[in-house]
Each structure stands twice: as C-alpha cells, then as structure tokens.
C-alpha cells in the first residue's frame, strides 16, 4: 500500500506533471489529483480511446497489444498506461 502511495507521489512531483488518475475497468476513478468533473471526463473519454487504440493494434497484428498511449496536444501531453483491469493516466506539461 505504501509503495503505491510513494510511486504515485513520485510521479506527481516530477517536473511539469499536472495531474494523475488511476481508473478501473469500469471507468471509476480510484485515485486522482484533479477535481472530480475533470477526472470523470478524462476517465470516460480516455477509456474509450484506449479501447479503440488497443483494438486497432490488435487488428493489424493479433499477437500485438497496446502498452502505452501518448497524446501530445498544444497545451500538454496525456499519457495512458493501460492494463487489464486498471489504467494510469498522467497529464504533463512537457518542458519545451
């Protein structure tokens, strides 16, 4: 339990990190550092996108699987680390 805390805290304190969210497979945010409405929005939308991305990867090569998803936008970068049951989302402001 403490390692999880430590890991999440470490991630949060990196330079440029705006927020961290841990979502379960149903889209319920388990852990978040952002406000509720933003969290719910991110959780829902990114879940769908991750599913789509994963299915795309597997369609191209059924042996392949999605490991990480990064979306770079004008304002910041959204990074999604998907797993079978949970998903870790981090929003960061890259240094350039």
């Amino acid at each position: 339990m403490a390692e999880v805390e430590e890991t999440l805290k470490r991630i949060q304190t990196h330079k440029g990190v705006i927020g961290t969210i841990v979502v379960n497979a149903e889209g319920i945010p388990i852990r978040t550092t952002l406000d509720n409405s933003t969290t719910v929005q991110y959780a829902g939308l990114l879940h769908q996108l991750t599913m789509k991305a994963r299915s795309t990867v597997r369609d191209i090569d059924p042996q392949n699987d999605l490991t990480f998803l990064r979306i770079r936008s004008k304002k910041h970068e959204i990074m999604v680390a998907p797993d079978k049951e949970y998903m870790l989302i981090v929003i960061q402001n890259p240094s350039e």
């Binding site: 149903e26 970068e77 680390a81 870790l88 960061q92």
Partner: protein, 625 residues
Amino acid sequence: HVYLLLSKCVGLLYSSASSLPSRCFRCKDIDVLPTLKLSCFPTALTMEIVYVYTKKRNEFGRQCNFSDRSAELHVDILPDPSLAVNFIERDPCDVPIQCTQEMSEHEVNTERFESDTRGINHVEGGWPKDVNPHEMEQTIRFRKKVEKDENYISTVMQLGNNMEHCIKQNNAIDIYREYFEEEEVVEESEVQPSAKTINVFRDPNEVKRTASSLSWHPDGSRKLAVAYSSLEFQKVSKDMSLNSYIWDIENPNKPEMTLKPVSPLVCLEYNPKDCHILVGGSYNGQIAYWDTRKGSQPVEMSTIEHSHRDPVYRVIWLQSKTGTDTFSASTDGQVLWWDIRKMSEPTERLILDPNKKGNLDNALGAISLEFETTMPTKFMVGTEQGLVVSCNRKAKTPAEKIVCMYSGHHGPIYALQRNPFFPKNFLTVADWTARIWSEDIKESSIMWTKYHTAYLSDGSWSPVRPSVFFTIKMDGTLDVWDFLFKQNDPTLSVKVCDEALNSLRVQDNGHFLACGSQLGTVTLLEISSGLCTLQKNEKALATAMFERETKREKILEARHREMRLKERSRSEQSKEEDTKEGDGEESPEELITRIEKDFYEIVEAELKKRDKGEEKKVADAIKSD
C-alpha cells in the same frame, strides 16, 4: 354437360345430363342410362362417352343428398393394340433419378441491425449496483476496498514505472539543441600575466649606491632619470660618487647624462611641463634644479638656511601658470613650497604638527607626498610615524592647513598615491602591507593586503587600469595586484633581483615600469598586455568594489563611535572613584621598562624551551644509537 378430354385412359365422368334421354350420335346405344358423352376434338380417333341421368323437376333446387354406393363399373375401354402403330418405342430411355433427401432452398433475411454513431457524455463511472455514486461514504469505501486489492497494487507499481520513464523522457534536456546562441563568446585572456625584463641599468660607479628615486621623461618616456644616494645613516664612504644619471632606455651601457649635485640626490623629478627641467632634493636638505640643456651642474640651489634640515625625501612639481612651482617634504617635519626662479627662499612653509600649533619639535617627519593635478588645492603627506596627513593648501591659517589624518600603518609611509581613476581612493605603502583608503573613512583603510614577510618599500597605481597596482619589497620582488581578479594574493609576483628594491615608477602608458634596487641597479620591465589593457566593466566593477568597502568601513566606524560613547559615559561615572584611588597610570618611562622586562622574559623563556628541546633530541639520538 361437362366434357373431359381423354387421350388414352378411360375416365369416368359424371355429368349432369338433361332428364330427357339423349341420343348419342356416335354410339349405337340409345337408352343407355347414364350416357357419358365425350367431347371430341377433330382428331383422327374420337370417342364419346356419355352418362345421362334423370331427375324430377320438382327435385330441382333441392339440396344434394349424397350417399355412398358401391363402385360400379361404367365404362371399360380396353386398349387397342392397333393404335400402337402410331407410336415408336423409345430405346434407350434416359430417366434421371436422384436418391437424396429432398430439400428446398429458402432465403431468409434477418431483421436489419441498425447501428448509429453517437457521442456519449460520460457523467459518472459504472458504479456497481450496491454503491450509490452520490453517497460520499459509499464511494470512498469502495475506493478504499479497491486500493487494498493485491492486483491493484502490483498493476499500479508496474504502470507507474512505465509512466515515470515516459515522464522523464519528456523532461529530458535536448543535448543536440543549440544553447546559448545569443550570448557572445566571452574572450578569456589566455595569456598568463607576466613581466619581462627588458633592460638593466647598473650604477657605473664602483661604490654602489641605492637608486632611491626614478622619474620618467614626460615626453614619450624615452629617458629615465635616476637619483642615487645612500640612505643608510653614516655609512657614506668617501669614495662614493655624488652623481645621479639620466639614462636612455635603449642604451644600458652608459648613462646619457650625469647630474652633479653638491650632495647625493634622494629624489628627482622631471617637470611635466618642460621636459628639460628637473628638480631634485638632496641628502643635506637642499633643493636644486637642472636644465639638461645647460649641463650637469644645477642651475640653482636653495640656500641651506632655508632648506630642510633632513634629507628631502620627496619633491613634486605643482600645477601653476608659470610651471615653476614645486614643493618638497622632509623628515624634519616641514613641507616647503618653492618657485625655482627664486630658490633663495621657500614661498611657503608648513609644519606638520599634529597639534596644529606649528611646533617643530612635535612635527611628524614627512616621507612621501601626494599631489594630484586635478585637485590642486589638496595634497597629502605620508609621515614617518605611519600617519597620512591630508592638507589644504588654500587655508588661511596654518592650523587650518592640516585637514585630517589617517592612521593605520605601523611604519613610515613610503608611497602615497591617489587612484588616477578614482581620486577619492588612495594607496599607501608602508611597513609590511599596502592599504587602500577612502578619503571619507578616517579610522581605517577600506582594503589592505596581508602582512608580507618582507618590508614593502614603494608602490604605485597603474595609470591605465583602475584596479591594478604595483608594490616592491625589500626581498627584491615586484608584486602586481589586481583586486578585481584576486584579493588575497598578488596576481603576479616577479623576483627582479636579489637585493632589496627601493623605488618604483610606472611609465605613463602602463606598459613599462622601472624599479631601482639597493645596489643601484635599475631594471626596466615590460608587463604583459592583460595587465595593462582596460578590461570591460572594469571601471564599474572597481567602483562597485570601492563603494562596497567604503560602506562597510563606514558602518564599522559608526559602530565604534557608538561603543566609544558608551564607554565614555560609563567611564565618567567611575572616574570619580578612580581619582580617589590615586594615579594608577604609569609614566611613559616606567611603561617602557616594564615592556622591556616582559620582552626579555619572553625571549628567555623561548630560548630555554628550545634548548630543552635540543637536549631531548640529542638524548633520543644517543638512546637510539
């Protein structure tokens, strides 16, 4: 009648015939009931079979009552083989047979599945049924439960590692990017500061005298005037020459001109306005001036009665319309002003009495003078006692002439010079240190060097760089200090010769300097360009440094004053008690004897300690043998 066409087989046909028996045109039977009529087509063989039955008229319209009857053969038509002639037997006969399950093809279309693309606004996640998403407690409990799950922990750890890697990637510094494009490349002077000996001018006489003063020719610095004298009291030998020389720096073998004074010259100065005139102060206190066009003898000398009583240590030309005014200082405590046109008497006299009473007995002996042409009314005198006296020339009364005094040195002040860029700050060289002062701070210097091992004998600022100054020591080394570069040590330290150096003079361009030694050897040195070119921001940095140090000293001065006031008020209270006790203070003589006694005691104790140490060493050595 209903007719049925029969081709081959016989079929029975019931027809409703009329009640009247009808005749068949073809068959011979007339009263055959029923008759079967068979319609005929106009074919070759026609047959007509008719069946007739009767029905009563009043039975018309009645419902039919059907009843069962046994089968009756009505017609039997036997085959007629003669008809077979009209047909051909087919042989072989192809007959398809299939022995399969009979199936029928049937198309089915399922109901169309209609799909529609739609966006969803996800409001709240898929909470399980038992958790009410609006209840904080329940959601928190649910979350906590999930967080305790093993799977959750391991998953988050693993995902976290991945994520961290990517985050760090984002934050990584691009090593290929051009940084510092806009900044100018600061040119670091790679050259180490150095000083090179160009020429050495030796005293041509047998008996070597000290080169006590140097002066550069004002026009182009091609010539150097050197005053030779022996400053050691009563060590003057009879053979010693009295002459001083003017050297051409290109020719170190032979002096260009000789100056023949009556008494050896201690100091010598070229007139900055007229490059042929030199004034010199001699060992016996007289001032003399030469004109190089007129020969080696002085043109005029001051009268002995009105001159100094001690060697004239410094003589400086003044800024005046006529360009003939000088003033001189000597350890007899006087500063005299002269007009060289009339050397019989000094034009003015100042006695350096710290009590401002003009008492010659109390006067401080002057060793160095300072005069800056930009400030013609002020001048400074460095004394034997270690005080710097700042004087005002234009004061009405002699008492007002002495403005203030700066103390801080332990020995005679051999050099005193204002910074050519910052006239408020001046350099003094005395005892084992060189100090930089600010005019405003009278209690102590603002910057000072460490205490050296050898006595410092002369010093000067660099005319081109505000932060560079030179000092020479009695062990024959020349130190070049740059306090913007290094404050604790000289930037450059050069051993010029083995004997003590006595005098130093920097050329006006700052590039060359000459130093005179105790044995009369004058060395001409060239300094590396780094030390004589003005660096960028140097003035600003030097200003900042001076200001900072001045401020610090000011604060310290204020603090000391405060403390002294406190002490005084405290001592005044206890003074009444003191006077009752009697004179506890010692007179100066008693003080001296006490100090002497202490001193000898300490020395003896130290010697004893050393002897004991040596004895022990010897004993140890014997034991080890």
